[in-house]
Symmetry: C2
Subunit: 433 residues, 2 copies
Amino acid sequence: MSPTDPARTLATQLPDTPPGARITLMGHVHRRRELATVSFLILRDRTGLAQIVFRPEQLPTVGLPGEETVVRIEGTATANAHAPGGIEVTAPEITLLSEPARTPVVELWRPTLDAALPTVLDHAAVTWRHPAQRAKWELAAASLRGFRRTLDAEGFTEIQTPKLVDSVTESGANVFPVDYFGTTAYLAQSPQFFKQQLVGVFERVYETGPVFRAEPHDTVRHLAEYVSLDAELGFIRDHRDVLALLHRVLLGMIESIRTESGDAVARLGLALPAIPDEIPVIHFQDALRRVGAPDDEPDLAPAHERALGEWARQRYGSDVIAVEGYPMRKRPFYTHPQPDDPRWSNSFDLIFRGLELVTGGQRRHRYSDYVAAIEARGESPAAYASYLSAFAHGMPPHGGFAIGLERWVSRLIEASNIREVTLFPRDLHRLTP
Amino acid sequence: MSPTDPARTLATQLPDTPPGARITLMGHVHRRRELATVSFLILRDRTGLAQIVFRPEQLPTVGLPGEETVVRIEGTATANAHAPGGIEVTAPEITLLSEPARTPVVELWRPTLDAALPTVLDHAAVTWRHPAQRAKWELAAASLRGFRRTLDAEGFTEIQTPKLVDSVTESGANVFPVDYFGTTAYLAQSPQFFKQQLVGVFERVYETGPVFRAEPHDTVRHLAEYVSLDAELGFIRDHRDVLALLHRVLLGMIESIRTESGDAVARLGLALPAIPDEIPVIHFQDALRRVGAPDDEPDLAPAHERALGEWARQRYGSDVIAVEGYPMRKRPFYTHPQPDDPRWSNSFDLIFRGLELVTGGQRRHRYSDYVAAIEARGESPAAYASYLSAFAHGMPPHGGFAIGLERWVSRLIEASNIREVTLFPRDLHRLTP
């Protein structure tokens, strides 16, 4: 049966099938129920569920196949107001395509996946088959499409940059060393240096790919490997232009979820985020005051982020709020200072439902500013030679941001642990499955 | 100047600008020419080139800015049949946004990038700015879009799978070890095991992302890190369904290049590949005979692939040919055997212009077949426990393929070295820039 063979009917096509038509379905047995007078088999394919009805004389002599058996079913589309979509399949002939060797550790046909998180993660290949679990990744896939579509429409060029690098980008710690042909390489903590260099080439770039953080803490919101949605663009005025782009990107991601993953949204009973016409912005100093933190705090604690998220919800009816002007001393050297007061930066964090989701801002663009900033940290510009060569040859004012995909989906469904939305999470204790 | 500020005019918008309009352009100085009676500045932005004309009295007192200076220019759109697109900019006022600190190692304004490959690679941040160089990556970006768009339209789900794995997928050698929180992890050589497991969930999946091969040889067609375009789908009859999908995907990639990167195609003087309505297929045994190789050769040598490519071109007018039925003993254990003769496999390589571009085929789908195949290699199924759990719980007949992105673009432009089309190549000798 070819993937485009019109002879195959998908579960979601069933309601549009004329009653009486002889059709072929393929998928996993989601549920079997054998009763005295009639038996049912619920078939699961990539689009949804279909109900197959067996009269006693139509049952295979060995009985109905068990859950997770892969089958092809030929049968007759039959109207039944009680069936999902109003059409069920009767007079079925069943062919087994592959039979399970084990019983799943969870009952996939139950409405909710009733298992502890370690069980769900340990048996990922099976637990992701649960429709409600699977819906979580469908949100991620739709978000990726929305991210790229928004940026494609604005003249961005997709890039793919190396994950093997010769030095450390963001911070000296939290990096994975790799044995690279006898020397040491590192796994990239972000595409930051590459995407900036490529702004000099393509002016507007984005990348969707893995980044690696040797995060030594075991928290519900960190992973050792995650998917970073990076964008960077030239010829901005300041970080507010970057924030405006982020706003359009978030709306594009939500629109993609709404229009292309409506079924996943329904399965999860999801309320899509409220993003107002303009993202509320608060300066870091004001944010400290608002949450009652001392004036000299260098960063916002998780409790502060939650309080700001709550305030944005109440004050602006918004699920997002941007905090701008983080202290320069806590930001990486490429961060552009606030022109009127260089203690603060032209950078921001976006807090989504009380958790930092995005870091972004304007970057420095003048070569001499980079040399001075690196020397001020007691480092040698020579250690950054290939990165700095982009700036030595003229770079536009630019900035960008990075969204953590798993964090986005996690807050979207208000998961208690980011691992719930990650296909195969990697952390301090987990390198498998 | 906001990125969406209508006040900014892009180079490609200039021909549509009404003569006499006062406009603002931004970009790099691509070329300056100061003559006695008139001076020119060619501006380069993300869309193309624009010509700015200075009368002597309009020149800045310090003269025109040098190449690679980043500028904003306000001027008057003026018809001139000799200017690119028929419109040039006169009466300019120029603002310097950032000045280069060094002279580029290559002259970017020359029609071709006239430098040895090591120079081009060592100075990637600058050499990619050359319009003809940049066009190569634009083909890659368009190919990524075409790949995803084709599969999105066929009901595929995008996946993002871990690059950090606990064991070796494809072969014991050629793998990079990673110091992972005190234990050893490896960089994934392919998403093979994950994409198969996820066929059990989403039925049709694809991934675009980095893969890693500790390739100990220094060749013109291998990289230590490259971008793999992976697809995998369930409910196939055999590998011919996979090849048919690959055919549609290649056509989609070419269509995307043709319609969205027409300017890059023109800059490179590129002849798009000839892909016939059906991809020619030859069995491995027949391929050996045709190239005059002994019957017991286990694989095709590069010279054989070139000869087959030449033959496909002459016989079928095709830039591609598929070789099916590779010997089972040379294929990975998950390869599905040819049902009528298990010495051969239901797998294929696609040869594109004389070089292997794609490996694909049908995979085994029965748990017992996997256990037998792994034991036949003298290995323990327990070492593959999490992978095998997908098959223990029922998997549809399935298959897939992987396209090397850089190899595709490399053969597309008939580059002599794959590094010419890779943004920042990684190999035995190169970990920077």
